[in-house]
Structure formats: C-alpha cells, structure tokens
Symmetry: C2
Subunit: 174 residues, 2 copies
Amino acid sequence: MPELTETEKAYFMQEALKEAEKSLAKEEIPIGCVIVKDGQIIGRGHNAREALGQAIMHAEIMAIQEANQTVGNWRLLEATLFVTIEPCVMCSGAIGLARIPQVIYGAPNQKFGAAGSLYDILTDERLNHRVQVEKGVLQEDCAAIMQTFFRLGREKKKAARRLAREADEKSNLQ
Amino acid sequence: MPELTETEKAYFMQEALKEAEKSLAKEEIPIGCVIVKDGQIIGRGHNAREALGQAIMHAEIMAIQEANQTVGNWRLLEATLFVTIEPCVMCSGAIGLARIPQVIYGAPNQKFGAAGSLYDILTDERLNHRVQVEKGVLQEDCAAIMQTFFRLGREKKKAARRLAREADEKSNLQ
C-alpha cells in the first residue's frame, strides 16, 4: 500500500482540483481525478460527459484509461487514485477492476456515492479486490467548486427566463 | 420501453454471441454485447481487456461508447442492451448513466453480477434511473462459450506444465 504524507495528499488533491477546473470551464459537473504511482502522476481525468457525448466519461474513467496507457497494463498495482468527489457505482467498479489499492477522495456524494454513501463497493468482502479508502482531503475546496457550478447553472437559467420574458413583453407592445 | 418479440430477442442475443466469439479468438473472457434501437444495432462490443490493456474495456462499455458515437448523444433512450453474461458493477453503473431503459442478458454471473446476483444496481429505487431487466435469453449458449474458454485455459496450462516437465527431464539426462 503506498504511504503518503499529508502534504503529498494535499498536493495531489490540488492536482485533481485543477482537473475539475477543466470541467467547470466546459460547463460540465466539475469533478477531477489524478492517479499517482511512485510519486508521479500517471493518469489525469476530468468529467467531460457533455463535451464528448460519452456517458462513461467521468473523471476517474478518463484517468484510469490514461494510466493504463502509461503503464502499458490494465492493472494499476501500487497506485493511488485521488478524486475530488466520492466515486459513483460505475467508477467504483472500474477502480476495483483496475486493481487500484488506494482511493482518496475529497467530498462525499450523498446521492450517488458508492464508496460509503449509497454503496460500499470498494470494501465489499465478496468482491475479489478491496480498496483502502480515505475521505475528506481538501473536502471544502472539492465541495466549493461543485457549489459554484450549480450556482452558475441557476443564474444562467434565471437570465434565460428574464430574456424570454423581456422578448415576450416587447412582442406584446408591438 | 421497446417491445421485442421472442424471435427478435434471440436474434440480437445471437449477435451478442458473435461478439463474444471475437473475445474467445483473442483468448479473452468471451462476453459480447449489442445495443439495439428501432430494430437496428447502434453499438457492438466484446471484452478486450488484455488485448487493449484497458481495465474498463468490457463488452458493455465498448458497445455504449460506440452507441453514444452513433446517436451523437450520451443518452441512449429507447435502446435495449443485449449482453451474454450478467453485467458487473462497473457496467451496471454505466448502463444507468447512459439512461438505457432495458437490459436483456443470457447467463447469470454468481460471482460478479450486479443485475440481481451480487447487487441489484439496475433496479435500485434510490438511483435516478431504473432499468427493466430480463434474463435467460439463449442462456445455455451464453454459458457454454464461457465454459469453452475456461476449459481451453486449463488445457493450455496443462500443456505448458507438460512441456516444462519434459524440458526438465531432458536437461537431467544431459
């Protein structure tokens, strides 16, 4: 199991947050991920479902694909996956399939999280791979970028409604 | 919800079996998948984890990626996913994320199945998407190709052990 200092954990979660920023810039749900092995980032990913039109394109999946490419193997032994938000069912399944031994996430996902919230896929004794899970690293920053995304979404909807109303009023005057 | 006749179900499961044959030819666990919409196959996939060195490259994931490309959208509304073996946790999560309304599978997977065996991801009331699941279409054929794979694997191991023993005996004689 990779042993990381608190500073290293914060550093790599910061890198995952940089990935989440890429999603935010594309108006996607801002979740970012990096996979680390021997102190090096071997895979990076950010949620890009809308931009790529691909249902599976979550941050973790993109990072696992890149890491598999980097090491030339589907097994990511001795790697640590950092992700800003608790992984969903699909991503938790993918983490197990890639044999990643350690996951560190920022903020929980009460609605869809499968690493403790809704399911406990990563530590299920019945599966053939179990993962050490740590949560809460830079939790506030990881949650804050999500809140920014949802606030921007609400403001955008509000502005669209105002524009529609103004256009409506204008056409009534004519 | 797409309505399919028993003949249509058998026809498309046969197509999924053709995909599984592709895995078998590559010495991969032989699982195949097709995704059908309006009577047309919009995505095909077969397990290619070893050949591609990608942990996520299960039959369902490959088929979902292709179907997303075909329709130009991450949502696969009104589609039916046919897969020879019960989907795992990752693939069940992916099916929900792609909003596929119907899954038909051949044989159950007691060890890793997440569509009824180990988990019931597809019908979980807590998730925001529920899937209609039917099992047992061409079940014997879908199970038989898996048994062929595992038998071939055992025979190969046996042959390798015999060759090693013969080489050992030969070097002892010299």
